[in-house]
């Protein structure tokens, strides 16, 4: 693997797969309260798509597309959003799930027992999934980029 990335086969396959991996990651985050998965898992899947880009195109190839400062800012926003959602219930108790069964956004009640699942349930849980998903995808992508670029610098020195 050189600075320019890997062979043309890998790059072509990456162009196809990249979008699919992203969509799958967002699906896992979105359906976290219904199916196996959640913010962390989906975020890791999306971050793996970023890592795939890095491996296939090399650090130079993604320079314009993945900016580490932007990623870091997004990560902080995700963290703040999660903390804010935790603070939302502080009228009762910190971390109180005030949207569950309330009838508003994500506030529908769920039929007890096995069912097909409704997306509009879970109260704060889906929102937290999104906050954590944003945090994890940008955080892991940030780690991968910084470590890859840092390690490169050492090789050329």
């Amino acid at each position: 693997m050189n600075q320019q990335g890997m062979s043309v086969i890998v790059r072509t396959v990456t162009r196809f797969v990249y979008g699919l991996v992203l969509v799958f990651g967002f699906y896992v985050i979105m359906h976290g309260h219904l199916t196996p998965g959640g913010g962390f898992q989906g975020g890791a899947v999306v971050a793996s798509a970023f890592a795939l880009l890095l491996v296939a195109f090399g650090a130079a190839g993604v320079k314009g597309r993945l900016d580490k400062h932007l990623l870091q800012t997004l990560e902080e926003i995700g963290a703040l959003a999660f903390l804010g959602l935790a603070f939302a219930g502080v009228g009762t108790v910190f971390f109180y799930n005030l949207l569950a069964n309330s009838g508003s956004l994500f506030g529908a009640s769920v039929a007890l027992g096995p069912n097909a699942g409704v997306l509009n349930t879970g109260g704060l849980v889906p929102l937290m999934n999104w906050a954590v998903g944003l945090k994890v995808m940008t955080g892991i992508a940030c780690i991968v980029i910084v470590m890859l670029v840092g390690a490169r610098k050492e090789e050329t020195e």
Partner: protein, 116 residues
């Protein structure tokens, strides 16, 4: 057929292998691998603790009615500890990169300014 507590022994063995790598390997990267092995062993142990024989995943979407479910808490704890393991491993590897930058080696026998 009952398996007794044989699966727990497997997890303990994994932890022991990791400890061995951590204590007796001389390369920083191999030490990190040792730590990862210990982590994996502990996570495996944690998730095994929550198994209930014949149980299914604790998710109601399209589940069979009246099915036995395994304990959800250890799965949540394992999820948390996997992410923590990821974070520590990443930080350890970054330190290894910088140790290599300063000392030009990853051999612990040659990195010993902090003794005594």
């Amino acid at each position: 057929m009952s398996v007794g507590n044989f699966p727990f022994v497997i997890a303990a063995l994994l932890v022991a292998f990791g400890l061995y790598a951590l204590l007796f390997k001389r390369n920083l990267i191999k030490m990190v691998i040792g730590i990862s092995l210990v982590e994996t062993g502990v996570n495996l142990f944690l998730v095994m603790v929550g198994y209930r024989s014949g149980g299914a995943a604790p998710i109601y979407t399209y589940a069979t009615a009246g099915e036995r479910m395994v304990l959800p808490t250890p799965q949540a704890l394992t999820l948390t500890s996997i992410v923590i393991g990821l974070a520590t491993t990443a930080l350890l590897l970054s330190f290894a990169v910088f140790v290599h930058r300063h000392y030009g080696t990853l051999d612990v026998r040659k990195i010993k300014e902090l003794r005594g």
